[in-house]
């Protein structure tokens, strides 16, 4: 536990330093990011060590509040998530060293919030009693809120910040009620007592606690109907912080859900798993379908976070279903897939957000419509972004493939379950996951293709410069991590068996070679596939050289239907690329299109045409606006209660007294 306290001390020092050095932004940035990086490195190392070890080091300080002590415990599951925080924090801090120049006018305040955000997020998975968990959970939310509204001059950031804080507080209220209900049952705050009291609760209470956990932690994780804050809040934050938020903060929601449902409640009725599977599938589909249309690169990545969280919750749902039918091995495999995808997503989403941040900084815009041709100006960033895109669309050599493969395997083994309804659910979920995979690949092609290839479509994109060296270092490390995680699935599943055992009491991941991922129904080894493909490519290259000689390529202008020269206006931009999806999935987007030609100057050609297109935010309009409208109408009606005349107020007094006396007479007051 001591190294972790050391890490927290380093982060606290970073926060202090950035406050003291408000005067000189450059120093404040370097100190805050540097110390944050050091702290995260220490944290990651300590947690990684604890992942393997069985002994759960603990720390209790009872001098904090009279009714609840500060309890921290290093459980395997908690260590895994804290290690994620450490790893992503390290990469983001290194990247922030040069990236955060863009925010130098508020370097001190950003550094302070950033160095408060990371320790709070790191300590949430280590909390061992309800009050500690809630305190750091709220502190994490508040610190990230201040980062989201860092550039509060832009009203969109303010609106995003408000929505984020209000939805997070709503979720925290549900989580608070959940912990209070458990506390009411066992009279103490520590999670060990919750775990003991959980199974004994009446089934109606267990269902209530499960629903509270799903909605509360689901909102924080960004599951479908509750995800509206995520695509607005994450892009508003600076690049290196939104990487932490998207990569790791949503995982704290997952950690909370797993802790409560698996840790405290234990196996429950199978409809729990079915509900989570349905919500997960909906999140995956909705997330990716909105991502494919999104022109803003950071909002695209935020929507894809909603998709990947959906996939993780689908795998966790399979774990729930299997454990409710008493199939421990399959449940362990499914949870292994969920945790594996959580780790993978943390890696490649941080990589993509950091790269997007660098692109936004050097090209001055986040809009794919105005990017393009960056591969020539920023070749290395483009390469790392490509690696991230390959991982995002789950293509073999990279890590996205293995965890999606494992999820498919657990869905397929769902057909072994007794009874027809679970099988039909697994069937539909498998279909949804496949469609999600396909559209995710399209999103990745759009992001990389229209963003980096062909000609730059704006002066900013044309004048882009390669990212700074610390940024490239962070991106390189993360890209290597994505590749490594993809090539040694067996070893990673072995490491994950500790946390999985913590959840389902049975770590049982089938032993196999380090580079092979096996499940009940089959196995795959990305390393061998990569080797085979490389061998075939080399053979083709050799054949080409023997037959056609050195084969140096000659450069010539692209064919542009005979027009004098290729202009950036001719190439396919993001909106054009996603046009087929807009048509095919029109029922969801209900796209609208407005073309207003101005008064025709000549007979045939109008002087100018105004074109505007957009899609309807279906969820916002159907699920969020009606209750808000009702609440406001009720409030305006209620406002007439204070109508200003003193006679009315005296009437209220009389009525209140009359009611009290009537209650007294009726004896109901006891």
């Amino acid at each position: 536990m001591e190294p972790i306290l050391g890490a927290m001390a380093a982060l606290a020092l970073g926060a202090l330093a950035s406050l003291l050095l408000r005067g000189s932004p450059r120093l404040a940035r370097l100190y805050s990011c540097g110390l944050a990086g050091a702290g995260c490195a220490l944290l990651a190392a300590a947690c990684a060590a604890a992942l393997g070890g069985a002994q759960a080091a603990g720390l209790t300080w009872s001098g904090w509040f009279p009714f609840a002590a500060l309890e921290l415990r290093l459980t395997p599951l908690g260590a895994l998530f804290s290690a994620l925080v450490g790893a992503c924090g390290l990469a983001a801090s290194v990247h922030g060293l040069s990236y955060a120049e863009e925010y130098d006018h508020r370097a001190g305040w950003l550094g302070f919030c950033y160095c408060c955000f990371l320790p709070a997020m790191a300590l949430v998975p280590l909390a061992a009693n309800a009050f500690t968990f809630l305190f750091f959970w709220e502190a994490m939310t508040l610190a990230s809120f201040f980062i989201v509204v860092l550039e509060h001059e832009n009203p969109r950031n303010r609106q995003a910040g408000w929505l984020y804080l209000v939805m997070s507080q709503g979720a925290t209220v549900l989580i608070l009620l959940l912990f209070l209900r458990l506390h009411g049952a066992c009279g103490s705050w520590s999670f060990a007592d919750f775990r003991a009291a959980g199974p004994g609760l009446p089934s109606r209470t267990r269902d209530l606690i499960f629903l509270l956990a799903l909605v509360g932690f689901g909102t924080k994780a960004g599951l479908a109907p509750l995800h509206l804050w995520l695509p607005q809040a994450h892009p508003a934050a600076p690049g290196h912080v939104s990487a932490c938020m998207s990569g790791v903060m949503v995982k704290t929601g997952l950690y909370g859900f797993l802790l409560v449902v698996f840790g405290f409640l234990g196996p429950g009725p199978w409809w729990w798993g079915a509900l989570v599977l349905a919500v997960g599938a909906a999140s995956a589909l909705l997330g990716v379908l909105y991502a494919v249309l999104e022109p803003d690169i950071k909002r695209l990545l935020a929507y894809s976070t909603v998709e990947n969280v959906g996939i993780i919750f689908m795998a966790a749902a399979m774990g729930l279903i299997f454990s409710s039918f008493g199939r421990e091995a399959a449940a362990a495999a499914a949870l292994g897939a969920a945790l594996y995808h959580a780790v993978n997503h943390a890696a490649f989403k941080s990589l993509l957000f950091l790269a997007a941040g660098s692109v936004a900084k050097s090209s001055g815009t986040r809009d794919l419509e105005r990017l393009g041709g960056l591969i020539k100006a920023m070749p290395r960033t483009a390469l790392f972004f490509l690696a991230g895109c390959l991982a995002l669309s789950a293509l073999p050599p990279f890590n996205g493939f293995v965890s999606e493969w494992l999820t498919f395997q657990s869905l397929l083994s769902g057909f072994g379950l007794p009874g027809t309804p679970p099988r039909i659910l697994c069937l539909l979920a498998a279909g949804a996951l496949a469609l999600t995979g396909g559209v995710a690949a399209a999103t990745a092609v759009k992001a990389f293709g229209t963003g980096f290839l062909a000609l730059p479509r704006s002066s900013g994109a044309a004048a882009a410069r390669e990212a700074g060296r610390p940024e490239l270092l962070a991106l390189a490390v993360l890209a290597a991590a994505c590749l490594a995680l993809g090539l040694v699935p067996g070893k990673v599943l072995g490491v994950l068996s500790g946390p999985v055992a913590g959840l389902v009491g049975f770590g049982g991941v089938p032993a196999g070679a380090a580079s092979v991922a096996t499940s009940g129904l089959g196995g795959c080894s990305p390393a061998i596939l990569l080797a085979a493909a490389a061998a075939a490519a080399a053979a083709a290259w050799a054949l080409g050289r023997r037959l056609g000689g050195p084969g140096s390529a000659r450069r010539a202008p692209t064919w542009a239907c005979g027009m004098p020269g290729l202009t950036p206006r001719m190439e396919y931009s993001a909106a054009a690329f996603s046009k087929p999806f807009r048509r095919v999935f029109g029922f969801l987007y209900q796209p609208r299109r407005e073309i207003r030609p101005s008064a025709p100057a000549g007979e045939y050609f109008p002087a100018s045409i105004a074109y505007s297109a957009g899609i309807r935010q279906l969820i916002l309009e159907t699920l969020y606006h009606p209750p808000a409208r009702v609440l406001m109408r009720f409030s305006h009606a209620a406002r007439r209660l204070q109508a200003g005349s003193i006679n009315l107020y005296l009437g209220y007094l009389l009525v209140a007294l009359g009611v009290l006396l009537a209650l007294f007479l009726s004896g109901r007051l006891g």
Binding site: P66, L142, R639, L653, L657
Partner: protein, 482 residues
């Protein structure tokens, strides 16, 4: 002797201000007077903490843990407001009326201190009636049409309300006749609580709760509160909502102890819980659609008084502990926000805060304090109110009021959304207009101290405060720390 000094100090200050026509002198006397009052209060509180309850004048004055706690809050906040009003009122008050203002201000403080210290319930009623008198003139100080209307409603509604409290006091007095010589001394009644006539106690508590509830701003008797608090000068409204409501609640609490000891905790707790939840429900719609900032803060007072009542309603050691802690936290947060809003309104020269944005960038110190106050009021963690609301909610769930606890926590979240929706455009965003003048350091210093206190209370509960709150909780709930 310390007991008397606490009451006399503000009275003497009031007299001195009254006699001295010169405004500057009045300001100096005011500062010295409030500092002296705070010193006496602190001394007394320390004394009570060390040596237990103190009696003076043959039992007429009594200072137990509850009184000491209240004295400290009243004295501290009146000191903060006094310091603030030196700079603020110099620009606001019409010439020559300043010494009247300070005289009334300190008279008002002394009545509140008297109400908290006196043991005789009749005298308690008189003191609270005296606070109404003093504060009416302060509310109507601006002589504008709105201020006069607010003062008129305030005096009429409160006088009528409190009359019923006196009837309730009569009933308690007559109820004590059954066991022997009737008495109005609280200690006497508390001692003989067992033999009081239960029927009379029930009816008496209903009238007392109705009476002092009107003064405390519990719904539906709260209608005077938004008008009075929004029209009064800022330092006065800070004192009104920060402390005066609490003194009325103190009155209710004294009778709650008597009723709990004679009838068992259920009767009075259920009433308090009912009124508390009703206050929360009534305050929520008003907060969501409020345009005027001071009225918004006034409705927040109704909400937080409701939360304290709910805390007392949940009862038990931790219910009372949380309620008292919330009382302190809210007093600090409300004072911080009212004074902050006063600063901003005066710097921009208009009350319509919705027309201004980017206060944080234009007035960094005041904007930051304003934001801290708003986040505290919303109940966000590093600041005190989160802790007290957590304790109350926990006790709610433990004592079986699961639905009430759910409603409490849900409404707090809705109110958070409403408050932030109003506060964020004002505090953040690009500034549209530069304010003609900046608040002086004298105004911002006391606010900074209050903000730091809120932060400290949010992170941990210092030893002496914890001991005081435990003593109060044991006094009220009778049970040990469980």
């Amino acid at each position: 002797m310390a007991l008397l000094s606490v009451c006399l100090a503000p009275l003497l200050t009031a007299l001195a201000c009254l006699l001295d026509r010169d405004d500057r002198a009045a300001e100096r006397i005011n500062v010295m007077g409030s500092a002296a009052t705070f010193a006496c209060a602190a001394l007394l509180a320390a004394g009570v903490l060390r040596r237990g309850p103190l009696l003076a004048w043959g039992g007429f004055f009594r200072a137990d843990a509850l009184s000491a706690f209240m004295i400290l809050i009243v004295a501290f906040l009146s000191l903060v407001s006094a310091l603030y009003s030196v700079a603020y009122m110099r620009r606001e008050a019409p010439a020559g009326a300043l010494h009247w203002y300070y005289a009334l201000y300190h008279a008002f403080t002394s009545t509140m201190l008297l109400a908290v210290l006196v043991d005789n319930l009749g005298a308690l009623w008189i003191a609270i009636e005296a606070t109404t008198l003093a504060s009416t003139f302060l509310v109507g100080f601006h002589r504008s049409r709105h201020a006069v209307e607010a003062a008129w409603k305030y005096i009429v509604l409160c006088t009528v309300g409190i009359a019923f409290a006196l009837l309730g006091t009569f009933l308690f007095y007559y109820a004590s006749a059954r066991g022997g010589a009737p008495t109005l001394s609280w200690i006497g009644l508390a001692g003989r609580a067992g033999e009081l006539d239960p029927g009379l106690v029930r009816l008496g508590f209903i009238f007392v709760l109705f009476g002092y509830g009107t003064k405390a701003g519990l719904a539906p008797m709260h209608t005077w509160l938004p008008d009075a608090h929004s029209q009064a000068p800022t330092p006065v409204s800070a004192l009104l909502s920060g402390v005066l409501l609490k003194c009325a609640l103190y009155g209710v609490l004294r009778f709650h102890i008597l009723a709990a000891r004679s009838l068992g905790p259920d009767f009075s707790s259920r009433l308090l819980l009912g009124f508390g939840l009703l206050s929360l429900l009534v305050a929520t719609p008003f907060i969501l659609v409020q345009r005027d900032f001071k009225r918004l803060l006034a409705y927040h007072s109704v909400e937080h008084v409701g939360i304290v009542a709910v805390g007392l309603g949940f009862g038990g050691f931790w219910g009372v502990y949380g309620a008292m802690l919330h009382l302190l936290n809210h007093a600090l947060a409300k004072a911080l926000l009212f004074l902050g809003v006063g600063d901003i309104a005066r710097s921009f020269g208009s009350r319509r805060l919705h027309r201004f944005s980017g206060v944080l960038t234009v007035l960094p110190v005041t904007g930051a304090l304003f934001l801290v106050g708003a986040l505290a009021l919303a109940g966000l963690p590093p600041l005190g109110l989160f802790v007290s609301e957590f304790i109350i909610a926990a006790q709610g769930m433990r004592s079986g009021h699961a639905a009430a606890c759910g409603l409490l926590v849900g409404l707090i979240a809705v109110i958070l959304a409403g408050l932030l929706y109003h506060v964020m455009p004002v505090a953040l965003g690009a500034p549209r207009r530069r304010p003609p003048e900046r608040p002086s350091w004298l105004e911002s210093a006391p606010l900074a101290v209050v903000a730091v206190l809120l932060l400290v209370l949010g992170l941990c509960i210092p030893g002496p405060l914890d001991r005081t709150l435990s003593a109060i909780a044991e006094l009220v709930s009778g049970g040990p720390r469980g």
